[in-house]
């Protein structure tokens, strides 16, 4: 029955169009890889800073005792460190995703991109504000796990508007965040795993799966 190939193709085209019209499919895996590398660099800088400040002793003890004052050098260092990681990660993300969108013949700022960003941003901004409140209360040790939890939740929230696989990354981040909340002293280590190692692994998988292969023939 030669017609069945034609029908199978039609079904594939329907699926393809449904995905393309409702999801932002150009989110590049490479942006994950680079964000992961920057996060590891940021965590390493934090670790070195802590160990150099002899008065703090080991990182674990320091984080458990939490003598953080607003405006202290330590807190300033944290903000600069985190800010740089965020800045470089976002830059890499925008660069690689724009490049990928061009290849897919997709606009970078279309309806699907707007939906994706909105659904990412709401839990993420909530998390950011929550972390500032944690700092205000002096609960420094909970900041790293809280960023993991909120990042994971925002990925889950956004997964309807991009490639499905991102939800598994979301579950892993939430799990790491919860573990981190139980073992305060390991917050930064788990942070490095969640934002560094996991993002790199996820990015590589997505890159191999969707970007390194030659593009499929365009249906429409």
């Amino acid at each position: 029955m030669s017609d069945s190939n034609e029908q199978l193709k039609q079904i594939q085209e329907i699926h393809n169009m449904m995905t393309r019209s409702s999801r932002f499919i150009s989110l590049s895996g490479l942006s994950g890889v680079f964000a992961g590398i920057f996060a590891l660099a940021g965590a390493a800088a934090f670790y070195i800073y802590i160990n150099q400040s002899t008065s703090y002793g080991s990182m674990k003890d320091y984080l458990q005792e939490i003598p953080v004052e607003i405006g202290s050098d330590f807190l300033k260092f944290c903000f600069i460190d985190a800010g740089l990681v965020l800045f470089f990660s976002l830059s890499a993300g925008i660069f690689f995703t724009t490049r990928n969108a061009k290849r897919n013949g997709q606009k970078i700022w279309d309806k699907t991109a707007q939906k994706l960003l909105l659904h990412l941003a709401v839990p993420l901004v909530t998390g950011g504000i929550f972390c500032l409140i944690l700092l205000w209360h002096g609960l420094f040790g909970l900041v790293a796990p809280a960023t993991l939890i909120f990042f994971g939740l925002s990925l889950l929230n956004a997964s309807k508007y991009t490639l499905d696989e991102i939800q598994y990354l979301g579950y892993c981040e939430v799990l790491l965040g919860l573990i981190g909340s139980c073992f305060i002293g390991y917050g930064v280590t788990l942070w490095a795993i969640g934002f560094g190692v996991l993002l790199i692994i996820y990015g590589l998988i997505m890159y191999v799966r969707y970007e390194s292969k030659p593009k499929e023939k365009k249906f429409w």
Binding site: Q7, I11, E13, M18, S21, S22, D110, F219, W220
Partner: protein, 99 residues
């Protein structure tokens, strides 16, 4: 078998119409420009196919002013959704049976 082929909806036989319906099924509404970019077709071509779907009452049109320009957007009707799902089921069934 013959029954199934009858269920294949002639209104969806054209791939552009199929594309329009697919995009409208998963979005609340889609405007003309977005549809045009998604399907990579000319204005005239898209308009004629959308009109055909509108005539079948599978698609509803909404026109509104954004500033001074009109913005035309489309959504599926209840009938359009039902018919599209029947069409999709029939396609799947045909593929399954021929294997």
């Amino acid at each position: 078998m013959k029954n199934l082929i009858e269920k294949i909806n002639k209104g969806f036989e054209n791939r552009i119409r199929l594309g329009i319906m697919s995009a409208l099924m998963v979005n609340d509404s889609v405007d003309f420009l977005t549809l045009k970019e998604l399907l990579d077709v000319t204005d005239g071509n898209l308009a004629s196919h959308v009109n055909a779907l509108e005539a079948l009452e599978y698609v509803a049109v909404k026109k509104e002013f954004v500033g001074k320009k009109t913005k035309t957007s489309y959504k599926t009707t209840k009938l359009g959704k039902t018919e599209f799902n029947h069409h999709l089921k029939a396609l799947e069934e045909l593929v399954k049976r021929s294997k």
